[in-house]
């Protein structure tokens, strides 16, 4: 039983990473109908920026915030410079452009920072927490805490601020929003900026566990895809729940179903994505899109 609870908690910890990245995917999907295949690599690159800042002697939390600011600007620029020119192009074009971004970020990181794995500091104490018989990792708990704080901030932003309302309006009905004076183009760019920021949080939180290298986010991204698919690409809450569920299930399956282990990590994600898409393509909380023909 103790092992079970420990596995659930560390599942929630990995799940919170998936949730953050899935939320980033959903934000971009909601705003611009694009699945951003480069989301994970953008997060990885932001983590390298944080690593450089920390190595330059800046304390952890200021470096953390500075990275978020850089990621925010980077996301904004990407949308304005790269995504906007193809905004009205067919799905295939946009998918290809984000795949292009994926390989660019991956190879740039390898070029600038080399492919050797780098340790990344954790801001949380090293000693695990003992609750009765159960041992919980401090970083895992901190990871869950940070993700929850980020989620809370986002919820407050979208629910209670005029800018959040404007962004929701622009995503839901661009034409009417434009008529009431919302600058829809900038709202979409803001969506990319926020998504880049969540990705950065996910990357920085997962780096102490996985170690930093250019391919760090490959596995995380595919699970974030699975999470967003499970929760529904049109539902932010669904993405978070999907992330946590996927994290816990992955951990429990890895512990109790011995023949799968970690060797078939991607295969499990593939099976999950296909099963969800076949059984309930809109996901748990997503709305079904009805097309008029």
């Amino acid at each position: 039983m103790d092992i079970f609870i420990q596995q659930v908690v560390s599942g929630l910890a990995t799940g919170s990473i998936y949730a953050a990245l899935a939320l980033a995917l959903v934000m971009i999907y909601e705003a611009t109908d694009v699945v951003n295949f480069a989301q994970g690599e953008m997060a990885m690159f932001a983590t390298y920026i944080a690593w450089s800042l920390i190595n330059a002697g800046i304390p952890y939390w200021p470096a953390f915030l500075a990275t978020l600011a850089i990621a925010f600007l980077g996301g904004l620029l990407l949308q304005r410079l790269v995504i906007r020119p193809v905004a009205n192009a067919p799905v295939l074009t946009i998918v290809i452009v984000t795949i292009g971004l994926l390989v660019i970020f991956n190879s740039l990181a390898g070029w600038i920072f080399t492919y050797t794995q780098k340790p990344f500091p954790s801001p949380f104490p090293k000693e695990p927490l003992h609750v009765g018989q159960i041992v919980l990792g401090s970083h895992e708990l901190g990871q869950i805490g940070v993700t929850l704080i980020v989620l809370l901030c986002i919820w407050i932003f979208f629910r209670f601020t005029p800018l959040g309302l404007a962004m929701r309006a622009a995503a839901q009905n661009p034409l009417s929003s434009r008529l009431v004076g919302i600058r829809v183009g900038w709202m979409l760019a803001l969506g990319w900026a926020l998504a880049a920021m969540f990705g950065a949080v996910a990357g920085i939180m997962v780096a102490p566990v996985l170690f930093l290298d250019p391919n760090m986010m490959g596995g995380v991204q595919i699970y974030a895809f699975a999470a967003a698919t499970l929760g529904g690409f049109t539902s932010p809450l669904g993405a978070v729940i999907g992330g946590l569920v996927v994290g816990v299930v992955e951990n429990l399956v890895g512990t109790y179903v011995t023949f799968i282990g970690t060797e078939l990590k991607f295969t499990v994600a593939l099976a999950l994505i296909i099963v969800v898409l076949l059984v309930k393509p809109s996901g748990l909380l997503g709305r079904t899109v009805v097309k008029r023909v």
Binding site: L92, V97, V103, S107, G110, L264, F266
Partner: protein, 333 residues
């Protein structure tokens, strides 16, 4: 010279060049061209699906892998002659593609991209998992076949001509397929599935069938690659292979048969040139090319070539029109 004749002339000159190459290039360069043909077949397969039928596949490396492993296992385990492994691999991949195409019917656009993306990532793991058959991460080492008795060619030259013959055969089949009734159905399903259905096209069958044919072409290329390289290993069929194919069809030209050749030349030679700069450079360059082409030249090299040809012929036509006497002027005395 009209359009069809000039095209025939270009193809003829290209073929002549292709036949001269083995006798002027060293073995390493020749091997690179053999690879180009292998890639071109795989790209034609992917282009059928993604370019002509509009189904996005980010995981066609999977079918390349299946083809390669079918060929390798047949040769290694059962001593099947290598020439026989090619059609068998194509048939196996036809079935595999059709089966993957069935659930894919329900997945449109982005979701299909997602599922095939996951497939591309999962392939090396699955190959390593079935170690008993695939030899695990060690892969399978094969014997490089030589030319049959009576043909005075070294093994590299022979494999080059083999690849060239298979290339011509697949392009002939692919080209005819696309020109006919089936080809029109494939394109109609991409452009307007509802109208196609109303015209009596069985869209489900066409989509799943295109997936199968596309996988068969790519699988055939995979088998050919296994024969030519004489080695298969899980890590050569990684995610980047699928992305390389995607880059090939985008740069070469979506929905274009000759585009597959341009794309294959690009993905074979550009990384070699870029490798000198840095290990990471080829992919950075690939990425930049992908984005720039999508924004500035979505029809790829094939589109550019067609545009230049059109401009040249139009000029010729307008010059003729300017010099020729106008009928109206002659009529007046």
């Amino acid at each position: 010279m009209n359009n069809a004749n000039s095209r025939r002339a270009v193809v003829g000159i290209a073929l002549l060049l292709a036949c001269v190459l083995p006798f002027v290039l060293n073995n390493f360069r020749l091997f690179q061209f053999t690879q180009v043909y292998v890639y071109a077949i795989a790209l034609l397969g992917l282009n059928l699906l993604t370019g002509y039928n509009g189904q996005i596949s980010l995981g066609h490396g999977a079918f390349f892998a299946i083809g390669g492993y079918v060929a390798a296992i047949l040769m290694d385990r059962w001593g099947v002659p290598y020439l026989w492994t090619l059609p068998i691999a194509a048939v196996v991949c036809l079935a595999a593609g059709f089966l993957f195409g069935l659930p894919a019917l329900r997945l449109e656009g982005l979701y299909l991209a997602l599922a095939t993306f996951a497939l591309a990532l999962a392939v090396p793991q699955i190959l390593k998992y079935f170690e008993h058959w695939t030899g695990g991460s060690q892969g399978i080492v094969l014997i490089k076949p030589g030319a049959p008795a009576g043909i005075a060619l070294n093994p590299d030259q022979w494999l080059y001509f083999l690849a060239l013959i298979v290339l011509l055969a697949t392009f002939w089949i692919g080209g005819n397929l696309l020109r006919g009734r089936i080809g029109r159905a494939i394109v109609a399903v991409r452009d307007n599935p509802i109208a196609a259905q109303a015209m009596g096209v069985n869209t489900s069958l066409v989509k799943a069938g295109t997936f199968g044919i596309s996988a068969a072409f790519t699988g055939l290329a995979g088998a050919l690659s296994a024969v030519v390289v004489a080695f298969v290993a899980p890590d050569s069929y990684n995610f980047l292979l699928s992305i390389t194919f995607l880059i090939g069809i985008v740069i070469g030209g979506l929905a274009s048969v000759p585009g597959a050749i341009y794309g294959a030349l690009f993905i074979q030679f550009v990384p070699n040139l870029a490798q000198d700069v840095s290990k990471a450079a080829p992919w950075a360059i690939f990425g930049v090319f992908l984005i720039v082409f999508m924004i500035a030249m979505p029809t790829g090299i094939a589109g550019g070539v067609a545009m230049i040809r059109n401009r040249l012929t139009r000029r010729r036509v307008s010059e003729q029109a300017a010099t020729a006497p106008r009928p109206g002027m002659q009529a007046t005395p």
